[in-house]
């Protein structure tokens, strides 16, 4: 019989086992890249550091708020005693000038605050942005018009300026919460736009029509057809906005409107250390390096994820 097909000779690349979906392919592709491995390691390191901050600092023997007057020279404006900003067996990364607080403990706890804020804000941004973007893209019409106007409006806000203003007038509130909320407030339109664009393109894919012809309702289509299709770019975009969030948190803390003392955060540490950049360079370099490495790692990771997961990016 002429219509009998030959067994499917898989046209897919031979290296991939049959039955592997787009996610598996993406994972295999990611595993191939060294940059991904290195940045994952860095990110994991800092996340672990943040999670295990109390443990780590108790290992080092200092709490982040504990003064050590013996480690600084009070007559020289509290410059740390000893070379390299007071790095010693006692203080692994040296001490903060003036107060003599242990830098290791502060950096580790600072990671906790910085990453907590950055990641929570990212989560808010991504959730809100995805919800708004999908709604606007899928339902279109008036919903889209309203949401798009809202996005435009939010994007027209001079966000950093506004954030600083908001943070500086707020007094009796949980700073971490407020900071997260404020950062999140201005981030969502970015995600929403990406998601909306992607949703619009997916909505006109024939498989969405197929699902509708098959009787699926909007909710089912959104969750089974659109959302998974949006997930790739969203994950990539998410990874790429994390560094922005970390930087924003740092910038706000740097400008002195961040977390409340004595809670350390990297931005606040850098802000304070700037004054010592020539008298105690290590104090300045250590939190800066942490910030730099984290941002770098997330950026590299995000780049790789975008290459692999976002079909629109120019990968050949």
């Amino acid at each position: 019989m002429t219509t009998t097909p030959t067994p499917a000779s898989s046209p897919a690349p031979a290296a991939v086992p049959a039955g592997s979906g787009p996610w598996q392919l993406a994972r295999a592709e990611l595993r191939r890249r060294t940059a991904v491995k290195v940045s994952l390691a860095v990110v994991a390191l800092f996340l672990l550091m943040a999670a295990g901050a109390p443990l780590l600092s108790s290992l080092a023997g200092w709490s982040p708020e504990e003064f050590d007057k013996t480690a600084v020279d009070p007559y020289l404006g509290g410059r740390p005693l000893g070379p390299l900003g007071g790095i010693s067996a006692d203080h692994w990364l040296g001490v903060e000038p003036v107060t003599g607080r242990d830098l290791f403990a502060r950096v580790v706890h600072g990671a906790q605050v910085s990453l907590l804020i950055a990641l929570t804000a990212t989560a808010i941004v991504v959730l809100a942005g995805t919800a708004a973007g999908i709604t606007a893209g899928y339902f279109g019409g008036r919903t889209d018009a309203v949401l798009s106007r809202l996005m435009d409006l939010t994007m027209s806000f001079p966000s950093l300026i506004f954030m600083i203003a908001m943070m500086s007038v707020a007094k009796d509130v949980n700073r971490i919460l407020l900071m997260t909320a404020v950062i999140g407030l201005f981030g969502w339109p970015g995600v929403a736009r990406v998601v909306r664009g992607q949703t619009l393109s997916l909505r006109h894919r024939e498989y969405v029509d197929a699902a509708r012809v098959g009787g699926s309702g909007p909710w089912r289509i959104l969750t089974r057809d659109i959302l998974p299709g949006v997930a790739g770019p969203v994950i990539a975009y998410t990874t790429l906005i994390v560094p922005g969030m970390i930087a924003t948190e740092a910038a706000l803390s740097y400008l002195g409107v961040g977390v409340r003392p004595p809670t350390p955060s990297w931005g606040q540490m850098i802000a304070e250390s700037v004054a010592f950049y020539d008298t105690d360079p290590m104090y300045f370099v250590i939190p800066s390096t942490c910030l730099f490495l984290t941002v770098l790692a997330f950026t590299l990771l995000g780049d790789a994820l975008r290459d692999v997961l976002d079909p629109r990016s120019g990968r050949t």
Partner: protein
């Protein structure tokens, strides 16, 4: 086209009023008492009330807001008797702190922020785009990799870090440049530039890195377009293909980015200005924050929003010039 422009301008005004309203409300909801701040360290309740009434803070929020908005368009008179002040057309009120018209303060600081932003923009466009295009044309080569590693790293550096390193390297250690101090362009162009060089560099490093990455991917995408293949098939020299056919299309997406960035920066690069001590709008804003000078805060926020919105509008209009497919 005119219709479109009219509609867009109307939208711009709407957005600005909305932003003003939100900013206004935020400051109302999260109160810091400018009257108390102005009153000083020893302040009787009676005097505080008098000051509050004088500042108009005793009236309902919507009245204050309405006055503010109408003031922008028609100007308004503040105070009474011998001290009555007429605040002319784009009236953004008077600074609580030093009683100068907010508009004048902004216009006074604008040249500094504009010098900073525009100079940095020239620098970062030159650096970023050339790096990005070079990398794109030599995709996957060693040059490409080196440039992109550099760009990712530079984009990850916090501005304050770059700034401090520049200050340390070029001022403290090498003594090559003076501590930045704003000299108006009209006074002495050379001094203007030499004083701003460091802040320009500090800002440009970050943006150049971002632009290099962006322009590389945009250029790679463009160079893979079929019309580039057509251009090559016509036997055009490589230069023509790259510059005439590739660059123009490849750089269009950068325009959007540039509009947003420049718009945001014109209204003050808060961190850069404060690190280098440049008396720009960002610094004005930061100062106003620490003294609770609400008219100035509101003014800067509005100005910044206006720049962003106008820059976006400009970009959209520019698109029509660059891309003949866009018609209004």
């Amino acid at each position: 086209m005119t219709l479109y422009l009219g509609r867009r301008l109307l939208a711009v005004a709407g957005v600005l009023v909305a932003i003003a309203a939100v900013t206004f409300t935020v400051f109302y909801v999260l109160p810091s008492d400018p009257a108390a701040a102005a009153c000083g360290k020893s302040c009787s309740t009676d005097r505080l009330e008098a000051i509050r009434a004088h500042m108009g803070l005793d009236r309902p929020l919507w009245r204050q807001f309405a006055d503010f908005v109408t003031g922008i368009f028609t100007g308004r008179t503040m105070g009474s008797g011998q001290y009555a002040l007429h605040c002319a057309f784009p009236c953004l009120g008077y600074s609580y702190e030093n009683s100068e018209a907010v508009w004048d303060l902004l216009m006074d600081r604008l040249p500094v922020s504009a010098s900073l932003a525009l100079g940095a923009a020239v620098l970062w466009l030159a650096l970023g785009l050339s790096a990005g295009v070079t990398a794109a044309l030599r995709k996957d080569s060693l040059t490409d990799r080196a440039l992109m590693v550099g760009a990712v790293a530079a984009a990850s550096l916090p501005v304050y870090f770059t700034s401090m390193m520049l200050i340390y390297g070029l001022i403290r250690t090498a003594g090559l440049l003076p501590y930045p101090q704003y000299v108006p362009l009209g006074d002495d162009p050379l001094h203007w530039a030499s004083n701003l060089l460091l802040p320009w560099l500090a800002l440009a490093v970050l943006y150049a890195a971002m632009y290099a990455r962006q322009s590389r991917s945009s250029m790679i995408e463009t160079m893979a377009e079929p019309y580039i293949r057509t251009a090559r098939a016509k036997g055009l020299p490589r230069r023509t293909v790259v510059v005439k056919h590739g660059l123009r299309a490849g750089m269009t997406p950068i325009l959007t980015l540039f509009g947003m960035d420049l718009g945001g920066l014109l209204a003050g690069a808060v961190i850069t200005e404060s690190i280098f001590g440049l008396p720009g709008i960002g610094r004005l804003f930061y100062g106003a924050l620490s003294t609770g000078d609400q008219p100035v805060i509101l003014g800067v926020t509005l100005l910044a929003a206006a720049f962003i919105v106008v820059a976006n509008l400009a970009v959209d209009l520019l698109y029509a010039v660059v891309d003949p497919r866009v018609r209004y």
